[in-house]
């Protein structure tokens, strides 16, 4: 009986631990602002060159912080008001507030760069996930890309 009870509580113990893994987030849980059009990530062949440029720029920057990209979602950003165009401050407020309020994340890197990506912000969630959000400079055809990146230790 004692053995059965021990085994029972042992299993419950594991069940109690398991959610820590489940509680980790995925990039699909991040908000998809109205500034994105379409409101779905770009496919690998959509604006492939611009995507590659953004990924290369982010890869270089996060490497300096000791991270590598393990997953990504890249969106075309037209801005909340098309007449105004993309605005990092507005996007940062929406995504940043979701990070802080929903995922209890803390931002530990937030810089702009003349060489690109234009902006890069990195948050660490309460569960230890490290998420980067980057905005590209305007491409030759007037497009701005925004990427969500899951980072892992280098």
């Amino acid at each position: 009986m004692t053995r059965m009870l021990t085994a029972f509580f042992f299993c419950i113990g594991f069940a109690g631990v398991a959610p820590a893994k489940d509680a980790s987030m995925t990039l699909d849980q991040l908000p998809v602002p109205e500034a994105f059009s379409p409101r779905a990530p770009l496919g690998p062949t959509d604006q492939a060159e611009a995507q590659e440029e953004l990924v290369a720029a982010v890869t270089g920057k996060v490497k300096q912080e000791g991270y590598v990209i393990t997953d990504r979602r890249i969106f075309n950003c037209v801005g909340y008001d098309p007449a105004t165009g993309p605005q990092w401050v507005v996007l940062h407020a929406e995504v940043g507030n979701a990070m802080v309020d929903t995922f209890k994340a803390k931002e530990f890197y937030d810089h702009l760069d003349a060489k690109g990506p234009h902006h890069l912000s990195i948050w660490r969630t309460s569960h230890g996930d490290v998420i980067a959000v980057a905005q590209s400079y305007e491409t030759a055809d007037g497009k701005v890309l925004v990427g969500y990146f899951m980072l892992g230790k280098d």
Binding site: P31, P33, E34, Y80, D81, A83, T84, G85, P86, Q87, W88, V89, V90, H92, A93, E94, G96, N97, A98, M99, V100, D101, E107, D110, H111, L112, D113, A114, H118, H119
Partner: protein
Amino acid sequence: MGDPTLTDADLYGPSGRPEPTDIHQRDLGDCYFLAPLGSLAHQQPGRIQDAITYDAASQNFNVTLYQHGHGGFLGLRSEAKPVHVQVSQADVRADIRLSDNLIEPHGAKHSPIWPAVMEAAYADLAKKKDQTIDQGLDGIGHGRFPKSAMYALTGETSSRISGHEAKGLPMDKVYDRIHGALDEGRPVILNTNYMSSVPTDGLIKGDGGSGHAYMVEGISRDAQGNVEVTVRNPWGMNVSHGLGIESPDPLVKVDLKTVLNNGHVDDLEFGPKPPVRTQDKEVKPEPGQDPAAKEHAAAVRTGDPAMDRLLASLHDPQAMGHALTALAQSPDGQAFRAEGQAQYQAMEAQQSQQAQAQVAQQSQAAQQQAVSGPVMTR
């Protein structure tokens, strides 16, 4: 072919003066600077026009900003120190590229560049000596306090009324304070608290623990005593996720009592009155400039030889220099200096403690939605 040279002809739009509609915060978290700047454009455009000059020979814009300095006898009085910042063509281009705060409607040549010139000057003033303008722009782009920006723009200290204090006052009194300030031509800023759960009252949510700064452009009161404040978002539009705020119009009218009761207002800041201007030049009366006063001062005898020598030298700058040196080296001068230094150190220690307390308050405000700011805005 390089970019065309930007000149004073590019500074302003068709009105020929700065307009708050020229403000467009896109990529830097510096609402704390753009809100006072836009509010000055609304209330005292001449201040901005006076602050910027263009030098055709060097193709630089020269911008006058202010830092805290010391003046008066033995440098004991705190006073604004004008700082002349040279903003090169490259600096303005860097600002346009990194901050991207110009409105560039399709088909337009370009929008007025004065916000970019002022922002680049502020970044230059804020950066360390060995930093680039890019680093300076990055440095000012993550939130600060509007009061500091207002001081840098005007050399004068703002007064404030906290949201908590305003909430406890009769609405008529708050109306009178804001209406009176706007009537006097003062720039007025409304700063919000960051609230994780935001009431829907027309003001947007801040960003990650920081509040947001708005320009106050108008106030009205109806027969029932309801007070409505018109504020302009430096973003150039209004949108806030989950609050039903989605408008290309940067102006929004909010019910003052509601936003105060919600605890959404950190404070209202009132900038200085317009400077007294004669023939477009600011007149700052200085007591020593009056010849009659000089005559009177020279005739005064205090019984202190060093002081009498100083008073007698008022007509002669060189003699005054010698007299000041003698006075400073006299036993009384040395004692006065020591006392002054001690007072100054005590004052600096007090200011440092106050600054630390402000940071602690800000942190508390973010966590508990407290209303005792000032809160950092971005």
